[in-house]
């Protein structure tokens, strides 16, 4: 399998982009709020925060650029929802690491049986 080169590590690839986008506590709180509400607009989110709608809209756009939020234009507003990408990364880790162990353990079984054969008195 050629997936080893694409090993998922925090700080690299998609996960790195996710961490960058979530590096700010305000943006993390916004993602949590959107997740809680299901979908939300900048106006709805700003109503409960001591910041302007424009500031919230800018951060939502950054989170959408990072792939954490999906954006749908509804009339004059953009409605955001949380995308399942980080969960996709988790599933990818499980599939990749599980596959690596299956291959390694098969190779270990071969290595052990070769060792046995080599030690068998001739």
């Amino acid at each position: 399998m050629a997936i080893r080169a694409e090993r998922l590590k925090p700080g690299t690839g998609n996960i790195g982009i996710v961490f960058d986008a979530l590096g700010d506590p305000g943006r993390r709180a916004l993602v949590a709020s959107v997740a809680e509400l299901g979908t939300a607009t900048a106006t709805e989110l700003a109503a409960g925060l001591p910041v302007t709608r424009q500031a919230v809209a800018k951060q939502l756009a950054q989170l959408a650029d990072a792939g954490l939020l999906g954006a749908t234009r509804v009339g004059r507003e953009t409605r955001y929802r949380v995308t399942p990408q980080p969960l996709g990364d988790a599933a990818a880790w499980l599939a990749e690491v599980g596959g690596q162990w299956d291959e390694r353990l098969a190779a270990l079984a071969r290595s052990l049986s070769r060792g046995r054969a080599a030690r068998r008195p001739s």
Partner: protein, 117 residues
């Protein structure tokens, strides 16, 4: 968020033979990595390289000969290898834990806010 991969395999071999295969670099190169360096004592270091240029480093957290080997990967993940003598050979139990994605995220947040100071 942490994830786990677990596998259990019985090998028709003595625990001592399996332990050698898990800890001796030249044996590790037969099944685990293309190039392996490992000092299988607590605090010992491991470096593993694959043909595609991938390199992973680890520190040995626990090493109980023929029983248990625990490696901490430098990315925050860990792997626990446990041996148990059973009918027909040796049971190897593998448990690899992912880096804690949530903790890494908090760590990143910390360095991010410090960079603003």
């Amino acid at each position: 968020m942490e994830l786990h991969v677990e596998r259990e395999v019985v090998f028709p071999a003595e625990p001592a033979e399996v332990w050698e295969a898990l800890t001796e670099p030249e044996r590790l190169e037969e099944w685990f990595a293309t190039e392996a360096e490992l000092d299988p004592v607590p605090g010992g270091e491991g470096v593993f390289r694959w043909g595609d240029g991938e390199e992973r480093r680890a520190v040995v957290r626990e090493a109980e000969p023929e029983e248990r080997l625990v490696l901490d990967w430098d990315d925050g993940g860990e792997v626990v290898l446990e041996l148990e003598e059973v009918d027909g050979g040796t049971l190897l139990r593998v448990r690899e834990t992912s880096p804690d994605f949530a903790a890494a995220l908090e760590l990143h947040a910390l360095s991010w806010s410090h960079s603003l100071v």
